[in-house]
């Protein structure tokens, strides 16, 4: 049976792993290669490097980070943050990324998804969607999409955007709840299941992991194919191995 994936996210700034709450208040969490090595030993299924404050000057640093992590970890590696063009994607892939994650650039230029899918295959193109739940009436909700690390509202709904991105060639969708990010209040099952039901490609849930129970919830009620977390793993509160043992006991298929 296909396993539910546990993905560790390394939010990198200036070559160091950082982590914020609700996309703000960044604090340092260590060296990316050292963290990746630890997660590999603990049994992580995949690693995502998100360069949260990618700048022109930061690009070389990012390539070095990717190279260092890719050199010793033989697991799927995704790179995102500041991938604005085909050239940015090519640089990340040449440095050792297997997939690139696009967010803001895909919103302003949806053709970028198609271009990247044609060049590298859909399996190499992840579209990341940052969204907030908006309750219009008690029984009507929508998921408002934000660009630029959650700072700029765009008039799109996450479910519609996920459908469009998939039609354009996205091979996976990463859904992040801005409201839950870094809060440890649990993943957003409502948002994730809505997106997961709407597309045929795998959906990765992100934002809010605080306990092992939250992972069980997002795989069951949230219908996620994979779950991504950062802080819960970085600060050694919980190990990936313990989490997988817990999920296996709950009859959720995982790679042990």
């Amino acid at each position: 049976m296909l396993s539910k994936r546990i993905i560790a996210c390394l939010d990198v700034r200036d070559g160091k792993v950082v982590k914020g709450v609700n996309f703000e208040e960044l604090r340092e969490a260590g060296d990316p290669a050292a963290l990746a090595r630890r997660y590999n030993v603990e049994g992580i299924d995949e690693i995502v490097i998100l360069d949260v404050t990618a700048t022109l000057e930061g690009r070389q640093a990012r390539a070095n980070t990717i190279r260092t992590v890719a050199q010793e970890i033989f697991l799927p590696l995704t790179v995102g943050g500041g991938i604005r063009s085909e050239d940015d994607a090519a640089a990340a892939i040449e440095a050792g990324a297997d997939k690139v994650s696009v967010n803001t650039a895909a919103l302003s230029n949806p053709d970028l998804i198609t271009t990247l899918a044609r060049r590298y295959g859909s399996q190499a193109v992840m579209v990341a969607i940052d969204a907030k739940t908006v309750r219009l009436k008690p029984d009507t909700i929508s998921f408002a999409v934000y660009a630029r690390s959650g700072t700029t509202a765009v008039s799109r709904d996450a479910v519609e955007w996920a459908r469009e991105a998939t039609a354009r060639g996205a091979g996976e969708i990463l859904v992040t709840s801005i409201d839950r990010d870094g809060t440890k209040a649990g993943f957003d099952c409502e948002m994730t299941s809505a997106v997961s039901d709407a597309v045929d490609v795998p959906v990765i849930a992100s934002g809010g992991a605080g306990s092992f129970e939250h992972f069980a919830e997002i795989f069951e009620a949230g219908r996620a194919d994979a779950a991504l977390a950062a802080s819960i793993f970085h600060f050694q509160e919980h190990s990936v191995g313990q989490l997988k043992t817990f999920l296996a006991q709950r009859q959720i298929p995982v790679r042990l």
């Binding site: 296909l2 399996q123 790679r255």
Partner: protein, 206 residues
């Protein structure tokens, strides 16, 4: 020297890196004639079966000649599918016909087909378990239920030459082996220690 065939289908960095990590010297030949000095040949591939059209008749002949002379070959992902007769994904685009059978699309009932919780998503992305129907050099020491990383929408049927079976809706060939020709549908270069072990098994015959 291991020849890593670059026919423009995606990124070879990961495969090259993993082969180097197990001690293989790898190069990418630029013309078919260079293949004559290969001690092993790796045909990688991601994406659409159609991309194998870029393997021109000259390259096909050169690769076939290495196989006929007993040089170990490893196909990966679309590289496995290409060793079969062809694929539903690109019906007008023939494979090398080393293995018999045609590749088929994995089940995709669509959002309205079944209950959302049980429907199978395609592509099949992630870690899935292997079972070994027979002893092969390629899968030596890999125990049943070991998991490896897949990302594909089409798959090869299970035949007498299957070295590992995976199941996603239906059983399919996760690995095949006949003599010195081996191939894997999964990505050994992305499958942690199990993947490196399988690459080493292949490389030990080179």
């Amino acid at each position: 020297m291991i020849a890593l065939i670059d026919y423009g289908a995606g990124n070879l960095t990961s495969v090259r890196k993993a082969l180097s990590a197990i001690g293989a010297d790898v190069w990418t030949p630029t013309i078919p004639a260079e293949l004559s000095r290969a001690r092993g040949v790796v045909v990688p591939g991601v994406g659409h079966f159609d991309s194998t059209k870029a393997i021109t008749p000259e390259w096909r002949t050169a690769i076939k000649a290495r196989i006929d002379s007993g040089t170990p070959l490893l196909g990966i992902c679309v590289g496995l599918q290409w060793l079969f007769e062809g694929s539903e994904e690109a019906p007008d685009c023939g494979g090398l016909r080393i293995f018999s059978g045609r590749c088929f699309k994995l089940a995709c009932p669509g959002p309205q087909g079944r209950e959302p919780a049980s429907r199978l998503k395609v592509p099949h992305v992630g870690w899935n378990a292997l079972s070994m129907p027979r002893r092969t050099r390629l899968m030596h020491g890999v125990i049943n239920d070991s998991q490896v990383y897949f990302t594909h929408s089409f798959a090869a049927p299970v035949t007498a030459e299957t070295a590992a079976v995976c199941e996603y809706g239906v059983p399919f060939s996760a690995a095949v082996e006949r003599g010195h020709v081996s191939a894997v549908q999964f990505h050994p270069e992305k499958s942690g220690d199990t993947g490196l072990r399988i690459l080493r098994n292949w490389f030990s015959a080179v």
